[in-house]
Amino acid sequence: MTATTSDNSADPQPRPSFDWITFLSRWGTLISLGLLIILFSIGRPEVFMTLRNMLNILNQVSILGMIAFGLTICLVVGLFDLSIGAMATFGGYFAARFLMELNVENGFAVVIVILVVLALAALIGMINGALIAYLGISAIVETLAMSFVATGIILGISGGRTVYATEIPEAFTIIGQGKIAGIPNPVLILLLLGFVLWVFLEHTQTGRNMYALGGNREASRLSGISFSRYALIAMAISGACAALGGLVAGANLGAGRPQGVGDVYLLNAFVAVFIGASTMKPGKFHILGTAVGVLLIGVINNGLSVMGVQTFWQYIVQGGILILALISASLNSVRRS
C-alpha cells in the first residue's frame, strides 16, 4: 500500500503532563482505602492493624465478596441481577435442608449436595438469562420477579422453619467455620473464586466476548457473538455465586434460614461492584475493582466499630464513599463529553 498520510512515527511525541482528573478517577478509591486504613490504624493501633483483625475483615466480607464477584459478571454483559439476595437465601437454605433430609454425614456426600444446590442456582440463573434474552424482558424487572418467586418457593417448602445446627453435619459447617493454615475457609473460598472469575473475565475468549457485549451489543452481534448465549452464562454464574455466598453464610451460622439471609447482601454487592467500576479502569466492571469495593466496605464497617462509632455512621460513611467514588469516576466522562 502506498502511503499518503504521514507515518505514525512522524506524530508529535506525546508530551506527558500530570493529569489529576485521570489520576483521581483511577486511583481515588484505592487512595481512600489506604487513607481509611491509615486513619483506623492511628485511631486504634493495637486493635485495627493486627493480622487477626485483617483476617477478621476478610472473613466478614467473604460472603459479600462471593456474591459481588458473581454480580460483576452479569454487569459486564450489561445485565442487572436483582435476584442475588433471594438466590443467596436459596443456597443457604436448600443446602441445609437437603443435608438434613438425606441425613448426609460423610464429606464426599456433602460436596455432592453442595454441587447440586449450586447447579440448581445456576439453572435458575439460566432461566433468568433465557427469559431476558429470548423474550427481551428487562433484566431488572425479570430478576426482581424471579426473586419473589424464589423467596416464595423457599418459604413454601420450609414452612418458615429454620434448619438448625443439630440437623446439619459438621462436614458442612466446617466450610464456614474452619480454617486452613490460620486462614478462615470462607476467605480461601473467596480468593479462589475471585481468581477463577478474574482469569475467566480477563483471559478467556468467553470473558472477552462478555465485555464486548457490554460495550456494544449490536456490534457484538455483527462480530458473531450471540447475546443470548452469554446472557445465559452470565446469569448462571451470578446465580451460582450468590447461592455459594448464601451457602457459606449458612455453614458459618450453622443454620439454614428460609428468609433474610441474602437481603443484607443485595445492596452492598451493588455498592461494591459500582465502586469497583470506578477503580483503576474507570467505567469498566472488573473483578479486581469489585475486590477493592468489597474491601472498602469491610474496612469501613470494621474500622468504625473498632473505633466504637455508632452503626449509623457506618451507613453515612459508606454512602459518602460511594458518592465520592462515583464522582471521581464520572470526572473522566464529564471531561470527555
Binding site: T4, T5, N8, D19, T204, G215, R221, L222, S223
Partner: protein
C-alpha cells in the same frame, strides 16, 4: 467574564447586522487555541477567523484536531490555552447554553439526539416548551417542530421516535435544529456523512439562504468535492497545527490536499483494474427479504461489486441479507459451490464473510474498550492457548493488533488506548482492520470510508484493491456515489426492492447511478 456578558442571544434576524460590503468582518476569531489531552497535543496554537456571511470549511486528516477545535469553541472541552472571540470580544464559553447565548449552534460529528424521544421533543431540547394553562401545549410543540423541519425540506413525522429513524434522518434533524436556532455561527462537523446527494443539495441550498441573511458557517468535511462546491474559504489543520487558510481565489485541489497531507498528495483516481475474475466465490440466487426481491448475482474471486440505491431501495437490505443480519424469505446463497444458511451474523462469519456496517458508533465500535480488543475480537479464536478454557494468548493477540493497526496506519497513542479517544477516521480504520485477520474471503463493506480523510480514503481504496488482488470477493456500498466509479468493477443499482440495472466499467458514473436509482432508464 461570565455568561451574562456575552452579547444577547440572537433569536431573530434583527440581532444580526445586515451583511454589507464589510464582509471581511470576523464574527468568530480563534486566537492561539491549544488543547492538551493526556499524551496528545490535539491543538497547538491555532488561529484563524470566520467572517460574517461566509461558509468556512475546516479541513484536515483524521485526528488533525477538527472536532476538538469545535468542542473547544462550544465549551464541550475547556481549552488549555488561547482565546475565542465573538465579534472581536473575548468570550468564556463553558457550556452548550453559553454557546447558544453567544449565538453559536453546533451539529456534532457524533449524534446528539435522544433516541427515546420524539422528533418534536428533540427539536425542542434545551428550550422552554410552549404552555397553555400551565400544561404543555403539545399541538404547538408539534406545529413548531413541523416548521423547523419544513425549512430544510425534511418530511419526517414529528411524532416519530428518533430510534425508529435512519441515520441520515438523524443527521437532517440535527441540522434542522441548528439551522432553526438562527444562530449567527453555525458549526457543522461532518454533517453530510450519512446524507445522500439530494439531501446534501437541500442542506447546501439552506446554507446559502442563511449566509445571505448574514449567518456564518464553520463546516467540517472530508469530501473535498463538496468543499469546492460550497466553501468561501478553507482552513486546514495538520497534526493540531494550522496548516493554512485559503481564500476562494487560491483554493486549488492540489494546494488543499497538499496542506491536508503535508506534501503533494496523490488523490484517489479511477483505476484500470486487470485482475482475473474467474472462479465464482459466491452465488446469490433469487435472494429475497422484506425489502428486497429476487436478487441474483455471482461474485467472482477478485471482483468488486457495488450495491447502490436510495434508502429503502433494497440495497441496504441486500447487504443485511448477505450477512445474515436479516433472514431471507426466499432464495439462497452458495459459497464455493456449497449452499450456506445464514440465520445470524455468526453463520455468515463462519462461512467466511466479513462485514463493515455503515454506522460506526452504533454498530461497530466496542466502547470503553482498548484498540487492541476492538481489533482482535472477531478473530480471538485464533489466539487461544487451548480450546477448552479458551484462554487467550496475550502475546499473540498483541502482535496481531499491532500488525493490523500498522497495516491500516491507525494513529493512536498505542494499542492499549481507549477506542473512544481515537478520531472518527481512525476508529473506522480499526473497524475495517479487524476483519483482515479473520481469514474472511468475502468482504461486505457498507460505506467503509465514511468520516475518513482524503489520504486515508485512498489507503482504504488501495486496501480494497489489494484484497481483490489476493482473490477476495468484495461487495461495496457507499453514500458517496463518486466512490462507486473509483472502487467497483460493476454496480447493481437498486430501486423499489429490485435490481433496476447493472453498470459496468466506463458506465459506472454518478449520473447513471442516480438515474437508475430514481427509477429512470438509461439512454441506450
Amino acid at each position: 467574564m461570565t455568561a451574562q456578558d456575552i452579547p444577547a442571544a440572537s433569536g431573530s434576524d434583527a440581532a444580526i447586522p445586515a451583511p454589507g460590503p464589510d464582509s471581511a468582518r470576523e464574527v468568530l476569531t480563534i486566537k492561539g487555541l491549544t488543547k492538551q489531552f493526556p499524551g496528545t497535543l490535539a491543538l497547538d496554537d491555532v488561529s484563524f477567523g470566520v467572517r460574517q456571511g461566509e461558509i468556512h470549511a475546516l479541513l484536515g486528516e483524521n485526528g488533525a484536531g477538527k472536532s476538538t477545535l469545535i468542542k473547544c469553541i462550544c465549551g464541550a472541552y475547556s481549552a488549555t490555552g488561547g482565546d475565542v472571540l465573538i465579534e472581536g470580544k473575548p468570550v468564556q464559553i463553558t457550556s452548550p447554553a453559553d454557546a447558544g447565548a453567544a449565538g453559536i449552534a453546533v451539529v456534532h460529528q457524533h449524534m446528539n439526539l435522544v433516541p427515546t424521544m420524539s422528533v418534536a421533543e428533540n427539536l425542542h431540547l434545551g428550550e422552554k416548551l410552549p404552555r397553555r394553562a400551565g400544561l404543555l401545549n403539545w399541538s404547538e410543540v408539534h406545529r413548531r417542530a413541523r416548521q423547523v423541519l419544513d425549512r430544510v425540506g425534511v418530511d419526517i413525522p414529528t411524532t416519530a421516535l428518533i430510534s425508529e429513524l435512519r441515520p441520515e434522518q438523524h443527521a437532517m434533524i440535527s441540522i434542522a435544529r441548528a439551522v432553526s436556532a438562527e444562530a449567527r455561527i453555525i458549526i457543522l462537523d461532518e454533517p453530510t456523512n450519512a446524507l445522500l446527494p439530494h439531501e446534501v443539495e437541500r442542506l447546501f441550498d439552506q446554507m446559502r439562504v442563511l449566509t445571505r441573511k448574514g449567518h456564518s458557517f464553520l463546516y467540517v468535511s472530508h469530501r473535498l468535492s463538496e468543499v469546492f462546491q460550497i466553501a468561501d474559504r478553507a482552513t486546514v489543520l495538520r497534526d493540531g497545527r494550522l496548516s493554512g487558510t485559503f481564500d476562494r481565489s487560491n483554493m486549488t485541489h492540489a494546494g488543499i490536499v497538499g496542506a491536508i497531507v503535508g506534501r503533494d498528495g496523490a488523490l484517489a483516481e479511477r483505476r484500470v483494474r486487470s485482475h482475473s475474475t474467474d472462479g465464482t466465490l459466491m452465488r446469490v440466487q433469487d435472494l429475497s427479504g422484506r425489502r428486497a426481491d429476487g436478487i441474483s448475482f455471482d461474485l467472482a474471486a477478485g471482483e468488486i461489486v457495488g450495491i447502490a440505491g436510495l434508502p429503502g431501495s433494497g440495497a441496504d437490505e441486500t447487504m443485511n441479507l448477505l450477512f445474515g443480519r436479516r433472514r431471507s424469505t426466499r432464495g439462497g446463497i452458495e459459497i464455493d459451490g456449497k449452499p450456506v444458511r445464514l440465520r445470524d451474523p455468526g453463520d455468515a462469519i463462519a462461512a467466511g464473510i466479513a462485514y463493515v456496517p455503515r454506522n460506526r458508533l452504533a454498530e461497530a465500535v466496542f466502547h470503553a474498550d482498548s484498540v487492541r480488543a476492538n481489533v482482535t475480537l472477531p478473530s480471538l479464536a485464533k489466539y487461544l492457548r487451548e480450546p477448552i478454557l479458551r484462554l487467550v494468548h496475550r502475546g499473540r493477540e498483541d502482535e496481531a493488533a499491532r500488525e493490523v493497526t500498522e497495516r491500516m496506519r491507525v494513529r493512536m497513542p498505542g494499542i492499549e488506548a481507549s477506542i473512544d479517544d481515537l478520531s472518527g477516521g481512525n476508529q473506522q480504520k480499526v473497524v475495517l482492520g479487524r476483519w483482515l485477520s479473520t481469514g474472511a474471503n468475502i468482504f461486505l463493506l457498507n460505506s467503509p470510508t465514511a468520516a475518513v480523510d482524503v489520504g486515508a480514503k485512498k489507503e482504504i481504496y488501495d486496501l480494497i484493491d489489494e484484497l481483490a488482488r489476493e482473490g477476495k470477493g468484495i461487495v461495496f456500498a457507499s453514500t458517496e456515489l463518486e466512490e462507486y466509479a473509483l472502487v467497483c468493477d460493476r454496480v447493481f443499482v437498486f430501486a423499489a426492492g429490485r435490481v433496476a440495472g447493472e453498470l459496468r466499467g466506463e458506465d459506472v458514473t454518478e449520473p447513471n447511478i442516480m438515474t437508475l436509482a430514481a427509477g429512470g432508464a438509461l439512454a441506450a
